[in-house]
């Protein structure tokens, strides 16, 4: 039987999804030993997991290094990879939102300066609104940008809004809701269809239970 390669995002989300997979019978005992290895194979060799940077999951899957993977909708929207999006896991829920300093008003008479980790999502959003913007791509600590007057607003992931509040910022508009998705490489889907469907339906069943 063909081995299925699964790219899991490092961190809480990946661990949670692995727990779901374990429950569904795709366990890999080695994973319990919290060491620094990145690749783990199940005892019967039917499934292989690897931990990758969350924003790289889509690349591993698109290029076929992983047959399936778990990626946030934010990553999928930003990179628009050519893959199948099979399932909404309904976990890792948050949203991409526009945020600004408390009391900021966009009067629309100047080019809006937008700091973000997601230049494609931000441009698409403002293009739809017909707003002229200047994108400032940052890789972290986005909240700093409006405080230092580097930008007028930020477009970033908002979970609870605590980080924003502590920095005297507030969300003003929701761009898009985000959750974790099961994605598959298009070619792998053809040749490992049975196993991929198995994983997909197992996860789907647990998602429904969870609801």
């Amino acid at each position: 039987m063909n081995q299925v390669n699964v790219a899991l995002p490092k961190g809480r989300l990946g661990e949670k999804v692995y727990e779901m997979l374990k429950k569904a019978g795709f366990a890999c005992p080695d994973m319990a030993e919290n060491d620094r290895r990145l690749i783990f194979e199940s005892e019967d060799k039917t499934i292989r997991y690897f931990w990758v940077k969350p924003s790289d999951v889509a690349i591993y899957v698109e290029r076929g290094a992983a047959d399936i993977g778990i990626a946030g909708k934010d990553i999928l929207l930003e990179y628009a990879p050519d893959i199948y999006e099979l399932l909404d896991l309904g976990i890792g829920k948050c949203r991409i939102a526009v945020a600004a300093k408390c009391g900021f008003r966009d009067r629309g008479d100047k080019t809006l300066r937008v700091a973000t980790k997601f230049p494609n999502i931000a441009s698409a959003y403002y293009e739809k609104k017909g707003r002229d913007i200047d994108i400032i791509k940052l890789n972290g600590s986005i909240e700093l940008a409006p405080i230092l007057d580097l930008s007028d607003v930020i477009v970033d992931i908002v979970e609870t809004g605590t980080t924003l509040k502590e920095n005297n910022l507030e969300p003003t508009e929701t761009v898009v809701p985000i959750s974790a998705r099961l994605v598959a490489n298009k070619a792998s889907f053809k040749f490992k269809q049975e196993q991929i469907q198995l994983v997909c339906s197992a996860l789907s069943a647990q998602c429904k239970e969870g609801k």
């Binding site: 698109e62 199948y84 999006e85 909404d88 298009k186 053809k190 040749f191 269809q193």
Partner: protein, 364 residues
């Protein structure tokens, strides 16, 4: 037998010739104007351009189909069959710069009928079969998908979005679109069914009847079913599958569309379909269907692991006569081995065995 990419190219072209396709040789350059009108048809809209001595803007060809259409004879009553094996220049999906990409394919132009469509699908399947790996050719019917969307009353504005999620087999997103536009449950269910259908033509053809909603859909379903039957008689029923997630731009494609995959290559290596709308846009009355095989994606499969540069490393000291070295080298080659002649034993070269000719030996 170890096959290489050149061997594969020859086999594929031989296959096309068997069915009466003639080779189309094209110019390296084409007027930029030819492409600019149909930019969306191209895989990438980036084209290498330059100005000719007479001031005309030319382009290094990014695509062959458009040139073939341009040169096709619209008045001819017979069907024109051409194949090509050309290098094209475009930005590849994976790298960010221009690349020279090897591409083979064929076009069938004229008053094409169901037989011609089946012939092209068969040749597409056989082309990727030539690679010698497990393969799958997924086919869809843009006419049927469009008719279904029209029959259940999907707004033209939403069609693009819906096609996109069908292409991703993205059921959760489809649900949210349907909710957003307030489609009723029965319509949503039909679209779901469309995404969920996937399998060899032999198994799936039956299920298509569910999509006979009105005259248009019925016509398209019957066409697709007839094609499925012919594919079975070609003996390809297991390798050709129906999959509506194969979506091409409706501005150009109107009928059968297909994409081919082989095991161990993560992307589709063949893509094609019936593009009467592109013909019409280019002022031609004829219908047309064709496909391209992306040989650059397959190339890596044939990379051999070269452990050795040659079988024998023949080293000689300075002063050994050239005649002696030549004689020795010829002997080795005559013995059926490859030889690499060097003056010193370079660390970089790696051969199965090493033979030294020293001055001492030479004088003997």
């Amino acid at each position: 037998m170890q096959m290489n990419i050149e061997g594969l190219e020859q086999r594929i072209c031989g296959l096309y010739r068997q069915y009466g396709y003639n080779q189309f040789k094209m110019n390296k350059f084409e007027e930029y104007d030819t492409y600019v009108k149909n930019k969306d048809f191209l895989i990438s809209d980036k084209v290498i351009t330059f100005t000719d001595t007479n001031g005309k803007l030319l382009a290094m060809k990014p695509d062959v189909t458009i040139s073939i259409i341009k040169n096709s004879d619209d008045e001819a009553s017979d069907i024109q069959r051409v194949y090509y094996n050309e290098n094209v220049y475009r930005v590849s999906e994976n790298s960010h710069g221009f690349r020279e990409i090897m591409q083979s394919g064929l076009e069938c132009i004229g008053a094409i009928d169901t037989y011609n469509i089946c012939e092209v699908i068969m040749l597409a399947a056989k082309s990727i079969e030539c690679v010698g790996k497990k393969y799958v050719l997924d086919i869809s019917h843009m006419g049927l998908v469009a008719a279904i969307l029209a029959a259940i009353g999907i707004d033209m504005d939403v069609v693009g979005e819906i096609l996109h999620v069908i292409g991703e087999k993205n059921i959760p997103e489809l649900n949210s679109i349907c909710e957003r536009y307030g489609l009723d449950a029965s319509k949503t269910a039909k679209l779901m069914e469309l995404i969920n259908i996937y399998g060899p033509v032999a198994e799936v053809a039956e299920k298509l009847s569910a999509f006979c909603i009105d005259k248009e859909t019925e016509k398209a379903v019957n066409e697709l079913k007839e094609i499925c039957d012919v594919i079975e008689t070609y003996g390809l029923a297991q390798n050709v599958r129906i999959d509506f997630s194969v979506v091409n731009d409706m501005k150009y494609y109107n009928g059968i569309v297909f994409r081919g995959y082989i095991e161990d290559v993560p992307q589709g290596i063949l893509s094609g379909g019936q593009y009467d709308r592109l013909m019409a846009k280019m002022g031609k009355k004829s219908k047309a269907i064709g496909f391209a095989v992306y040989l650059d994606l397959i190339e890596r499969l044939f990379e051999e692991n070269h452990e050795f540069d040659a079988d024998v490393l023949l080293c000689y000291e300075k002063g050994v006569s050239a005649a002696l070295v030549a004689k020795k080298a010829s002997e080795i080659v005559a013995g059926g081995k490859s030889v690499l002649v060097q003056t010193n034993n370079f660390k970089r070269t790696c051969c199965r065995e090493t033979i030294m000719i020293t001055n001492e030996e030479a004088s003997r």
